[in-house]
């Protein structure tokens, strides 16, 4: 059985697994009957439908011819890691992590960290350019969000501004 479309195969697999997971999870709630639906009824039905759809997609991936085999291609680990990492660092710095004892470092610090790390996701990385960009964005964000829109953000680290 040759995989004719890699994309569809794995897509179908994803649907099948997720659908089954939801259906299974629904059983922990009261399912009820058609007339008196419990909280688990709808998700279970949908989960089953999704799982079935997933199987059909897998089937088409194995049987319907495609030109190139629809390859998924290389997974871009570098951009993935840096973009997601930048986001995570932003959250950690903005809010602090209570369980690690890290105080909130504030918006400005978080912006710098995000921009510097996200920049690493591209091919040409220039520390200086990133720094300038971060500064522009930090100033801009401060003006736009804190001053103009009066949103409540922890701008500076907690040990400085409380």
């Amino acid at each position: 059985m040759k995989i004719k479309s890699q994309k569809d195969f794995f897509a179908g697999l994803m649907f099948a697994i997720v659908g089954t997971a939801f259906a299974w999870g629904s059983t922990t709630y009261n399912v009820g009957s058609g007339a008196r639906m419990g909280p688990g009824y709808f998700p279970m039905m949908l989960g089953i439908v999704l799982a079935l759809l997933g199987l059909v997609v897998i089937f088409t991936a194995l049987t319907i011819e495609t030109e190139s085999g629809d390859p998924i291609g290389r997974i871009a680990w570098k951009p993935l890691g840096f973009i997601i990492g930048a986001n995570l660092i932003f959250g950690v710095l903005l809010g602090g992590v209570v369980s690690w004892g890290l105080p909130a470092m504030g918006l400005i610090a978080a912006i710098y960290a995000l921009v510097l790390i996200a920049g690493l996701a591209g091919e040409q990385y220039s520390f200086k350019a990133s720094l300038i960009l971060a500064t522009i964005l930090a100033v801009g964000s401060y003006l736009a969000f804190v001053v103009a829109l009066k949103l409540q953000f922890q701008v500076w680290p907690t040990f400085i501004s409380g």
């Binding site: 897509a11 649907f15 998700p43 570098k78 986001n87 995000l114 996701a121 964005l137």
Partner: protein
């Protein structure tokens, strides 16, 4: 008739210098919020609410309304330029709008969105002014059974949103429905799929998924392509204004969108959401004229129609608010709060007891739309300039704004983690060739569908026939079946054509 008198009362009230200034401030603020992805009008209106206590009620409401519209216009801008739907109503604009931007046609796309919205806004305001009370009666005819059938119709239409594999699109819709079920179940109070995390008991927010899937997913995918192949606004920007052909195509689309939006917006509880999706479906199913680009690849009708629909829907969704005091969405709920504070009880008597307020608000809607067109059209040039910033400077900014935008909705860092997760999910979708727009529609419709289904069955004590015995519900279901046939027909037909050719 009375309409003219009323409108003149309204315009008199709205045209004072003070009120015009407040309208302008509101529009400006709203545009800023709309453009920044993730931050919605709700947070801002809430912030500004106390500031408006000191203002006279008309001015306060005018400013708040300005923020609301401004954010709609601004949201379309980001959707077209950066592929980020800031509001549920912009999801559809993203599909063709961003494609147009990539082909150097961001100017016409923005203009189409703006002009379509303006036209629809004017028309919607007229409907509101003339037909508010009788239209409210229509809203009463809609019970849970009718809403459920309407959602089914909407879902079938959602299938049309996809331009790729039909099967995968349907799967994405179902997946969206399932994700939408995470959270507390209205009918039983049970928190489903929340893994005991308090933040999940209210479900996974739309913004979070939109930012992650559309925003991060796209950026990661873009960065993974070698620089030459990157599809970011590399095509020469051809012009800021739509061509004559564009206008020819746009006009009917805008008309259709306006009609759809006006009708759907009246339904309290989310009719307006469907209008953009419905309009897109309608446009896609109309025959392509010669020379038109395929849908999903940058057809201007796919921008003009939905934008007109959702602006018309936004206008007419004021009807249940002003006549019944029922807010159709969280922003309107804030307006109700604002009115209450100013000692105005929104309800039918507002029209008779505070005519300057009611008609002034309506007049200001028109003024607001006009101001926004004046604000936004020249801005198109500036936005185009922004697009020419090298991508390596642009994408960290987008990553940042997504994170801030999402954080600002609840001031909860948890939301930032969710965006990260959905960023990975979004990239997976792109890699696997699954389109996110149907998922978002499923996400929005899923909980409403289930809620109405169960409520209808509760009211009928378990009797399923209620969906076909109630006339409106039956009509909607029949329309859904017809739509299903129309949707499936071309695919069946094209397979048959393939079969012919191979023979």
């Amino acid at each position: 008739m009375d309409l003219i008198t009323n409108l003149s009362i309204g315009f008199n009230a709205a045209f004072t210098l003070q009120n015009l200034i407040y309208c302008f401030v509101g529009c400006l603020l709203g545009t800023l919020i709309g453009v920044l992805p993730g931050i919605g009008p709700v947070a801002t209106i809430a912030m500004l609410l106390p500031a408006t206590y000191a203002l006279p009620p008309v001015a306060a409401l005018i400013m708040l309304a300005g923020i609301y519209y401004g954010s709609q216009y601004g949201g379309s801008t980001t959707a077209i330029l950066v592929n980020l739907p800031g509001e549920s109503s912009s999801v559809v604009t993203v599909i063709d709008g961003h494609q147009m931007a990539k082909q150097g046609r961001a100017g016409p796309a923005l203009a189409a969105a703006g002009l379509g919205s303006f036209f629809a806004g004017c028309f919607g305001t007229l409907i509101l002014a003339a037909f508010a009370p009788p239209l409210t009666e229509l809203a009463f005819k809609f019970g849970p059974a009718e809403y459920f059938s309407l959602m089914i119709l909407g879902l079938i239409g959602a299938v049309v949103l996809a331009s790729g594999s039909l099967l995968k699109a349907i799967s994405m819709i179902v997946l969206g429905l399932l994700i939408g079920l995470v959270g507390t179940d209205v009918n039983s109070g049970v928190a489903r799929f929340s893994f005991d995390i308090p933040e999940l008991t209210d479900g996974i927010g739309f913004i979070v998924i939109a930012m992650g899937v559309f925003g991060y997913g796209e950026i990661i995918a873009n960065l993974s392509r070698p620089e030459e192949e990157r599809q970011v606004f590399t095509a020469k920007v051809e012009g800021l204004w739509p061509t004559r052909d564009d206008f020819k195509h746009m006009l009917p689309a805008v008309l259709r969108g306006t009609a759809l939006g006006s009708s759907l917006g009246i339904l309290p509880g989310g009719g307006a959401l469907l209008s953009a999706f419905a309009a897109y479906t309608l446009e896609k199913k109309m025959k392509l004229k010669p020379g038109e680009i395929a849908f999903g690849k940058g057809n201007i009708r796919g921008v003009a129609g939905p934008e007109a629909a959702n602006n018309a829907g936004a206008q007419t969704s004021f009807i249940p608010l002003l006549t019944l005091g029922i807010p159709p969405n969280p922003v309107m709920a804030l307006m109700v709060g604002a009115m209450t504070i100013h000692n105005i009880q929104p309800g039918p008597q507002v029209m008779t007891s505070n005519p300057e307020l009611f008609w002034g608000l309506i007049a200001s809607m028109w003024i607001g739309n006009a101001m926004l067109i004046v604000l936004n059209l020249p801005l198109i040039g500036i936005w185009i300039k922004l697009l020419s910033i090298p991508y390596r400077w642009l994408f960290p900014a987008i990553v940042l704004f997504c994170a801030i935008g999402v954080y600002s909705t609840n001031n909860n860092v948890f939301d930032i983690w969710m965006v990260a997760i959905f960023g990975v999910v979004g990239y997976t979708f792109i890699k696997l060739g699954c389109e996110p727009a149907p998922l978002l529609l499923g996400l929005i419709l899923g909980p409403m569908m289930e809620e109405n289904l169960r409520r209808a069955l509760l009211l009928s004590r378990g009797d399923w026939s209620v969906f076909v015995t109630r006339p409106i519900s039956l009509g909607l279901l029949v329309a859904a079946v017809l739509l299903l046939v129309i949707v499936l027909l071309p695919s069946v037909k094209s397979k048959r054509e393939e079969a012919f050719v191979e023979d």
